[in-house]
Symmetry: D2
Subunit: 335 residues, 4 copies
């Protein structure tokens, strides 16, 4: 039985906590820590049967009973917490992004390596039944050499302006998932990025020096090209499509719906809306990624999405950000 501590009890932290308690065998959540711990959070932890709730993250990092930590705190704490966890010999599951400061990320990766702990980054889409199938078809050679990677990724509704103020910008907050997908699906690293952004959903976003709609062209090490289109608003639901076109064919996936019904009337044939957002769409994938993390610890395996994957996604995001601002293609540094 792997004992886990959670650091950060916000939306994504709670989602993981509930999955562990109700959906994962062989793991036990023993402590929840959040620097903003309040009565509501304590009640929530209690209702889950988690024995300890604390305001001090050290209560997780230094607890000898705890085998592994889940870092779900704000992005700007990630590198530090990774290092603290690693130095205490804890295995680490860290939500994306791994960080924003390149040299701190590199240092954190070194500390992880030195302390021989496992680090898995929360790129949950790799565990999705649809995108995984695209990846597998490419890997198994079903479409020959990959030539074009296409990713559509649109949120149903924009986050709050408060959130946007500290999100780091669309490329670090939203597209970062797609940058990881691009590497995962193509089986190759990204060498150059050309990004084009616009403010179309909400004019306030321009004041934040951010974009809410973007198209990013990628050039891969293996010669393939890729394209991501993002928008912060898709009123019809979370739009998550991936596709790889190659020398022997093409593979793509459509969006998931809650059921396969078609209602046929004189107005046309009405299918269900798509699943609303990531909680619904990646429900199974969130469970699967923690299962894989627990498994990696138990069987001493390498996690399938490691710190270097987290680092590379940040490097691509930085290149995209620079490209969109300066109006030119930008090389991605090789690491």
């Amino acid at each position: 039985m792997i004992k886990l501590g959670l650091v950060g009890a916000g939306r994504i932290g709670r989602l993981h906590a509930e999955n562990i308690v109700y959906g994962i065998r062989g793991a036990e959540l023993v402590t929840v820590a959040d620097t903003l711990l309040n009565e509501e959070m304590e009640q929530w932890a209690y209702s889950l049967g988690v024995p300890k709730a604390s305001k001090r993250v050290e209560d997780v990092f230094s607890d000898p009973e705890i085998d592994a930590v889940l870092i779900c705190s704000p992005s700007n704490t990630h590198e530090d917490y990774i290092m603290e966890a690693a130095r205490n010999g804890k295995h680490i599951f860290c939500e994306k992004p791994i960080g924003s400061n390149l040299s701190k990320i590199e240092k954190a990766l070194q500390v992880v390596e030195d302390n021989k702990v496992k680090l898995q980054i929360g790129f949950v889409r790799r565990f999705d039944h649809n995108h995984k199938k695209v990846h597998d078809a490419v890997k198994e050679g079903k479409i020959g050499e990959p030539w074009l990677v296409k990713i559509t990724s649109r949120d149903p509704q924009p986050p709050s302006v408060d959130y946007l103020k500290t999100s780091g910008g669309i490329f670090f907050d939203m597209t970062i998932h797609d940058f990881d997908m691009a590497r995962y699906l193509s089986g190759s690293d990204v060498v150059e990025v050309s990004a084009c952004g616009a403010v179309l959903v909400n004019p306030v976003v321009a004041d934040l020096n951010d974009f809410d709609t973007a198209i990013v062209t990628l050039r891969f090490e293996n010669g393939a090209l890729g394209v991501i289109d993002n928008c912060r608003q898709a009123v019809y639901g979370y739009d998550q499509r991936t596709e790889v076109h190659g020398s022997k064919g093409c593979v793509w996936v459509e969006n998931d719906r809650p059921n396969t019904s078609l209602v046929l009337t004189a107005q046309g044939t009405l299918g269900e809306p798509f699943l609303w957002f990531f909680v619904e769409r990646y429900k199974e994938a969130f469970i699967a990624e923690i299962r894989v993390f627990i498994d990696a610890i138990e069987k001493n395996l390498d996690p399938p999405v490691d710190g270097m994957d987290g680092f590379k996604a940040v490097l691509i995001a930085r290149a995209a950000d620079e490209s969109a601002r300066e109006g030119k293609p930008v090389k991605v540094p090789k690491v």
Copy 2:
């Protein structure tokens, strides 16, 4: 150049005439005859460039210039006109049904045989791109032995009560197409029929001693079972689906739509309505069946849907009618 005469300038006759004039190479429509010929019909024929229009059907049957006739007159004239055409050495394309009086049909078939003319029955669905694919998949063994044949056939809206009064009943007028489809798709004759009818669309139909909704179960000579569901009203458009399930798999076809668009909004994903009715749905098939008829004449081939096919469909319809009225399965006589 095959010279054709049309007998009966109603809806279906005009459809064929326009296809011949505008869509068929190698054939020429030289006379239109209709016992109810009026000024409007003459104008229509003139606008098509057809040289002769007549009130006397003999002007078609006895014209030495004419190679073949299209019989599109009311059903109760079919057997007589077939015989008249055959005795005059004309090849015959006859709309369904071939007739309603069994002994007259048998006699007509004999006259056709004696006069060595070709007779093709207008079972247009055999020439449809979708249903043909189901047939071909079965014939090529892609689904192994056929076990279950399923046909859904629903009209968008019921015909007028006037039409219903003389239609001969749902099994002779509407299901007769499906009876032919059943034989075509299964590659086997029907040996027993069990039908169940209801009046759900319009209560007036009950006064006519007819049904507007029906389910017909078929037992085929090769042991397979089949089922047809019919309804005189489907507000979402002409519903034309076929399916064959067998030992190695299944093949089915969906309805056609005018385009592949999906409009995605907060209400769901809206696809196009189905093509409205047979004119739209079987547009290409109506042209194809006449092309095949012309070809059969030119190259001296057997038409792919002949008089015996027309006769067998009538025999199944009679069995279905009896079954629905008497509440018991009815054997189909072997011919």
Copy 3:
């Protein structure tokens, strides 16, 4: 916390047990009883953390700690066990069919009523996301008056001959689910059945005086017609489609697949096979039905699928069986 006892630890019993242990909050499985209990079953129960395993079903029925029982034993025990449980004041979840002896079923229903316990029958498909949507669309009037109900239900592969020997026949074992679906989707009782069976999958089935392929036509109290097509073998996976056509439109659902991928090559566009069988297809529905049962106990609600629903499905199955054997439509007795 509702305490449950399981009677019958075969395939379906274990499925429920594992769902309760891992997927249902608010319920606890405290005893497993099976008259054929062996070491392997004991190990299985132990691995689930179930405290007691017994060879005596009375250890469940008479245990004062137990609130409710799950009857997953062979069909011929169902009526007796229902009565025994009810007399001991236990709520009852009973797998389909509720029984096979009509007078015993009626007696069991009386005992249930007298003892004021809840009885839910395991018609799991009512809890499926697809079929539920068809039901809801009909109930909400989206398609107007229901006229035609269509159910396709085909198993991926036939059960063993040993199983078939005691299954009670295709209508009691397999179609019984569809008979319940027909009532659920139409919102109406079945008044007449006309069935047609064949042995196409395996000739041995004929020796058992059973069928492996069937088409059943239904007439509903509200005037609608229905049709079910069954086959014991569909090599492409479990085929579970439902449809209701009505005065204002139609609603149907397609089969579920493990993912939405399409692999496009020169050979065509290849989608995933359907989910293989009921374990995969109704995975969520099996959990949902037990949740509803627990909920009904906790909140003192009527279970949505009760003993009368179980009884009515058996009455339809008997009519279908008689109809198929005697070649005539058979009335369903009103209860």
Copy 4:
């Protein structure tokens, strides 16, 4: 009856000629001219019933009987032939591209205007049932403000190397259709282009200083963004998808197939391959565009795709070409 002359009897010229002879009422093809006229071409013209075939294009331009010309000769003749036709008072249907020399195109447009003849450019996709539906949905406001335009356009197989040597490059020869689509679907002009090309299909293309795979990002005057992905080879058939995402929803279209069949076996569910190439895919659209052209002449209407549309597509292609070669976004000059 509009009398037409064809200039250029290559693949596309013959396609138009056959459509006019067999599929268009109200128009008559009276002369075919091709500077490379040979016996085979003469035979072809004769078989169509076209009275005159000539080696001299002047025989079309100067023939007083001719109302309108179809320019289907090599691209480098387009501007000159447009001017010659206009000066002779002929209406003009000119295949894409309108030309390659910007000042000559401008001059040709002036001559067209001065001579008050109609000029329609052969952007056939505007007349396609699918893409037209996307356009209409946008125009009717069904998706609100357009934000993202997505076009996938892949040929089934690359043209011959000989063809590629004189094609003008992928952006002028292939993507030019997509540039027009982008304007048509968005309802807005393109102001900036950023293109990224690669040679992945055939290394010989690199020697020609061309690309065979490309991603082009567009910025529209109305603020929207667009993206086109092209590839010269898609072994699964002509891939022609368009999509517009906006403030109130999204509209997209899928590829057409020859029929709706699904063959279900243990290997999966196999749908038909897509229609192979433009001849099959845009069969109806090729007829429709000529019908519209004839109609514009008869009713004195403006053609829906005029010379300025042709010119603008060339300007975007030039910007794309420069962008791909110099690795930077390029502005599209306003005209």
